[in-house]
Structure formats: C-alpha cells, structure tokens
C-alpha cells in the first residue's frame, strides 16, 4: 500500500485502493496515464523520447522510455488486470514542456506529445485530458481509488486535471 514511484522510462499499473502511481520532474518527458473508473485500475508510463529507432537496445531494456514502445507495453500491462472497453478508458497526458523558443531539434517536449497522439490514434484512442507544454517542470500522481490526477511544480503549487 502506498505510492509507487516510476523513474524515467518506467511504466506500471496498480489496482489496490490506497495505492497510487507517481513520477517526478517530467521536464520535456510526458506521463501517459490510463484509468478505468469501473474496475479502478490505473496505469502510468514516463515517456522520455518519441521514437525507439534511435536506440533499439535501450528500447529492449526500457521500452517505457519511448512513445512507440511505451504505449504498447503500458496497454499490455494494463489489460492484465482485465479487459477494458474503449468507452471506459480515460487517458491523460501530462508534461512535454520546453524552454522558450525551443524550435527545431530541441523541441522534444512537443515531439513527445505528438508521438503519443499518433500512437494512441493507431489504437483508435485519444486523450480525455491534457496538461502539456509550457516552460516549467511537472510532477504528477494518480490515485487508484478516485482516479484523480494531481500535478505539482516547484513554486507553482498543485492542481488537478
């Protein structure tokens, strides 16, 4: 019972009321968050980069690191807790920040969010809520019992989506 902490490139699921999933300091990384309110199953992946083809070895070691391999693995883990109909599934995205004027190669936050939209679209899915972009870092947690997603950022307090 407690908060399960996910590092960069980690993914995990939880279904014990009283548990939660949390990941720190997303920066340009994106937390992909899944929730089934009927069965109270939660899932989260801390996605760092959009495309696993830049390093296939890293993708094998830590599939949650990349948007393409991470979506696949998180859904596979999520449905181990039981099938979930599309209408029941709630998907949220948090993170994907950038520095100011981060056009071109340094806009990894934007690329991560775009890659996740693309991977979700392949499955015929889209997010129900997002708190992405901006130029500040976020920490995010989901509570298994309520499905509430709480975000906080140093100096900016906390809020939920």
């Amino acid at each position: 019972m407690g908060m399960i902490i996910l590092g960069v490139g980690d993914y995990g699921t939880a279904n014990n009321p009283g548990d939660g999933l949390k990941t720190f300091a997303l920066g340009s990384c994106v937390a992909l968050i899944l929730y089934n309110p009927k069965t109270r199953v939660a899932g989260m992946a801390h996605i760092a980069l959009p495309d696993s083809t830049i390093n296939s070895q890293r993708a094998r070691e830590k599939p949650g690191y990349f948007a393409d391999s991470g979506v696949n693995r998180l859904f596979r883990d999520f449905v181990r807790h039981g099938e979930c109909s599309r209408s029941d599934l709630v998907i949220k995205l948090v993170g994907g920040a950038n520095v100011l004027k981060a056009h071109s190669a340094f806009n990894i936050g934007h690329k991560n969010v775009a890659a996740l939209h693309k991977e979700l679209a392949k499955l015929g899915l889209k997010s129900a809520g997002e708190d992405v972009g901006g130029n500040f870092s976020r920490t995010v947690a989901i509570d298994v019992a309520s499905g509430e997603v709480v975000i906080n950022s140093p100096g900016r307090g906390s809020w939920h989506i």
């Binding site: 920066g27 495309d51 890293r58 520095v99 990894i108 690329k111 100096g155």
Partner: protein, 282 residues
Amino acid sequence: MARPEDIISSVRSIPPLSPSALQLLSLIGDPDHGVADVIRVVEQDPGLTANVLKAVNSAAYSLEQKVTTLLRAVSYLGEKMVAAIALWSCAPKVYQAGLAGYVSERGELWRHSICTAIACRELAEYAPTGSVNPELAFTAGILHDIGKAVLSEHLQDDEGTLTLDPERDARFLDVEKIRGGIDHAEVGHALARHWKLPAPLAMAIRHHHIPHTTPEEHLTLVYTVHLGDILAMMAGAGTGADTLMYTLDERYTEHLTLSDEDVQAIFLAMETQFEQARTIFS
C-alpha cells in the same frame, strides 16, 4: 532587500577552492598536460586521493579487483571525473546544500551540474574539430550554475520559499533581477573571480544564458554549455522552480551541427551516464 553589490560581496563567504581542485581545473584547460600531471596534483592532497580511490572502488565501476594506485584510478575515472570529485568535496556550501530560493532540494544542483557536464562533453563532439575541449566542456558544465548557491537566499520570501506567478513569471532571469537585482550568471561570475577560475570557465558561467555576448575565443564552448544546461533541464534534472524558464538561443547552429536524432541521442547518453556517475557521489 540586499543590494546587488552586497550580493556580489557575499561570495567572499564561500571558502576558496582547494589548491588541488584549482590546479586540476587549470590543467584540464591546458592542451599540453598529461595524466602524470593529474596524478601529481592528486597525490599531494591526501583527502582527494582517498576520495578518488573510494570512487573508483564504488559500485559504479563494478571492478573485480580493488584499485589501489592513482594511476589506475585516474585511468578508469578519467581526469574530468577526478576534477568533479575534487569540486564536490571542496565546495560543500555550493553543491551539498539545498536552494530554498529555487524550491530545490539538497543534491539537485549537483545532479543538474553533472547532467549538464555529461551533455556538454557529448555536445563538444558536434563542434568543429578542435574547437571545444570535451574535458573542459565537462568542467564548465559542472561549474555553470555556482551563482545559484549564493543568490538562493535572496530569492526567498518571508516563509523561506519562492512562489511564482504563472501569468507574469516566464523568464527566471527576470525573476532573479526583480527579487535580487542581479541574476545567477552575474553572481556566478563574481564567485568565479573569487575562486580564481581560468578564463574559459569564468566566461561559461557568466554567459551561459546569453551566449551571443561571449568574447569570440570562447563562443563555441559557451554555446556548448548553453545547450548542455537546457538538455539537463529537459530531462527533469533541473534545480526546482527555474527549470526550463530560460530561452534557447538558436544561433547555436552557427557553432554546433546537430540533427534531431543527434539531440535525442545526447539526451539518452546523458541519462544513462548519469546513472553510473550518481553512485560515485551517493
């Protein structure tokens, strides 16, 4: 509120660097030095010798046989990591304290500094051949944010923290200027002078957020540190409230040639190499 000149004067409360740390920083910037020079500096400092041997025998390197000589230790660690160990142990007021004015926990500035350093060394490979010494870029990455350790207390409110206004506060250099009358790069430059750091390192500290203002001979090094700092923040290895509240200077393309894939590969290398480095300093 303290006046900017008082904040600059307060850098004198930070103890000087150890002679060995300063000599290592100077050596790294000297293209004619060899490993024997590095060992000569380390062996004159018993505390540093012990820390270097402890680091190489830590879990980070998983060596089968215990290393007992400085020659082998320096060979395994590399001189940049020896310099990092020297800085870590001789500047605890900078690297081993929390930054309440940045809402940053103890250890976060060191993590940010090491991640920036690793990114800088990787980025140096994308500058024209011979224009940036990767080892010097690494040490510049470790040192670039030293000013935050001095400025932090002047950014705190009465509750000992900092609260940003998301509507108004977009650039952290402006937040520092409003609250302290001076930004962390300017304070860092004062500390660099107090520490008598070599010129390239002092320039990297002073100009890492405004690299286009750097004197010509240090431009490529400073653009390297500018980008390394940004990559560390993007990876979530920032120093609290100011993380990502800075502006990318796109003129970096005049100094470093980087594709989208290159930037992502450096991002990945920084993360994996930090995992190894962190156990040395834990």
